[in-house]
Symmetry: C2
Subunit: 332 residues, 2 copies
């Protein structure tokens, strides 16, 4: 019996459990040549999935109604007729939200459970780490001594961005939503400063207070009013990496904010949307760098691991309440 | 007797004649070594000057209260003790709004009245042409066959941007505020399509109708709702050159608009503020290219020439009502 999670309907605003449908079915698991049977081990839930659940017309690669949702996952090969994957291997890639599935191996890579915990391949050594590293270096173009602000700083991407910022010699300021998270990013991840946006009545002033030389790079995971406040503090030639907008993903009205154009003109500043898939030719070099830093103890990471296939939708929804610290992962 | 125009007070909202002060004074016009006496011939009035009239804290190089305003100007050398400039020469550069002034030549270049009309050195062969050319090529990175949208298309910069777009093989759409201007950009300047934003009830749809393959490059001179409408039509990897925001320069409240971040993420798109002074190392090559196109008849330009030193403030204010076609220049 295989369990599968389908997108039942496109969410309106904040996703609800009832937007998802669980089905259990008998499936033919007979393998053809160059196929293998996978058993899902870890499933990554990420804010960007919210976009793909939206109106098919407005998003690239939207999920289809009544079809399985898919996201970054780790699976174990439990039977194989594939010449590159053997029984007992672990693989990483985009997989359907299913307990078991047949794959032809396209888009999957083998991961080595002896070199790093399997879940790390969804995080610091996976899309999360690549997003942090390539977003910061390719668009951010960091120079030693510059000031970096990271929003969603206690999240999966943000917590790695800040650490890489420190490795590269930046002054790093993180913005998060609880004192506990702010404490974590400064004490565990080495950020220079943390700001709790829920207890700051004037974010513009709160940023100015710690970014005493202004903001050169902004790694934006959230959008909305926090990003507006950063704009007031940018320096000439600032670079803003627009990586996520979790604060507005659930909006049913088109979000409004401060007009960015006058700030961009005044500061000859740049804002660029970042999607990791555009940088695939840089992946091997980037993974190598991240693995080196991880092995050297320069990079650490936090995960929030939720147990049970049946809890995937809830874990995803909890992202929008900031219930995760670091990468949110479901163990099957 | 020398006449001078001072900034009397920082304008609130739309500038008023009473924000300016005219003074007439006896000045010592005795030249020292390496000085020359200039008589102003043409003064350029441009939307960006509005920014410099604002709060000193919020703008780079703001004008000072009770000091002369200055802008791009052409002057005749009427006496000289400078070894590089002779009586009878014409010069171009940033000059005070004065009928006569003494200069040491810093930042001024000689212009040749026999090669092009003097006023062209404020326009197509001056900062205006450089802004159009370098903004479009350096940030826009145009590729033959792409679609370019230009706002403020009948203005000084916009009308040149569109023509360069055509020279470079782009599909060019201009947005302007009257049918007369729309007619001018298509019939005189060779734009493929024109849209009158004052008669279009749905700008998003109006752009979509003519940008049938979407928008690859947006040269933004206006900001505000017109720029919001363009966002809905951008293609993946779109480049937006944020050159001006005339629609919001006079706002007394911080302007709000559609949040750009989700559009940038979805399209891996770029927005960058453009200020010509950051590209000065490219000026010689750019001027050369513009002069060649002008001589070859590939580039034409329109000016609105207002007569009289006393009309400089009015000509400037009239920019915000779109009373100019092409470059707005005051002849002294």
């Amino acid at each position: 019996m295989i369990q599968t999670i389908l997108l039942k309907q496109r969410p309106t605003g904040r996703p609800k459990i009832s937007d998802f449908e669980f089905i259990t079915e008998e499936s033919d698991l007979t393998l053809k040549k160059d196929e293998m049977l996978l058993e899902t081990v870890y499933v990554s839930v990420d804010p960007y999935l919210r976009g793909r659940m939206s109106d098919a017309k407005s998003y690239v690669d939207p999920f289809k109604i009544n079809k399985p949702i898919y996201s970054g996952s780790i699976a174990k090969v439990i039977a194989s007729k594939h010449n590159k994957f053997n029984e007992g291997d672990y693989v990483s890639g985009m997989l359907d939200w299913k307990t078991k599935q047949i794959s032809n191996g396209n888009g999957l890579i083998k991961v080595d459970a002896t070199k790093a915990p399997l879940s790390a391949y969804l995080g610091v050594l996976g899309m999360t780490g690549l997003t942090a590293y390539l977003g910061l270096t390719e668009i951010g173009q960091p120079k030693t001594g510059e000031t970096l602000v990271v929003s969603g700083a206690a999240g999966a991407v943000g917590s790695i961005v800040g650490q890489i910022g420190k490795i590269l010699g930046l002054n790093v300021i993180g913005i998060a939503g609880t004192d506990e998270k702010v404490n974590m990013i400064t004490s565990e991840f080495g950020f220079d400063h943390g700001i709790n946006y829920n207890s700051s009545t004037n974010m513009n002033a709160a940023i100015k207070k710690v970014a005493t030389s202004g903001v050169d790079i902004y790694f934006d995971n959230v959008g909305g009013p926090i990003s507006d406040a950063v704009l007031f503090n940018i320096n000439k030639f600032a670079r803003m990496i627009i990586c996520g907008a979790i604060s507005v993903y659930n909006n049913t009205e088109l979000p409004q904010s401060v007009s960015v154009q006058p700030f961009l003109i005044k500061n000859s500043a740049l804002m660029q949307g970042f999607i990791i898939s555009n940088f695939s030719e840089k992946f091997p070099e980037a993974i190598n760098q991240l693995a080196t830093w991880l092995a050297d103890g320069k990079l650490t990471y936090t995960e929030t691991i939720v147990e049970g296939f049946e809890n995937i939708p809830k874990a995803f929804i909890d992202l929008f309440d900031g219930k995760n610290k670091g990468k949110m992962i479901v163990r099957i």
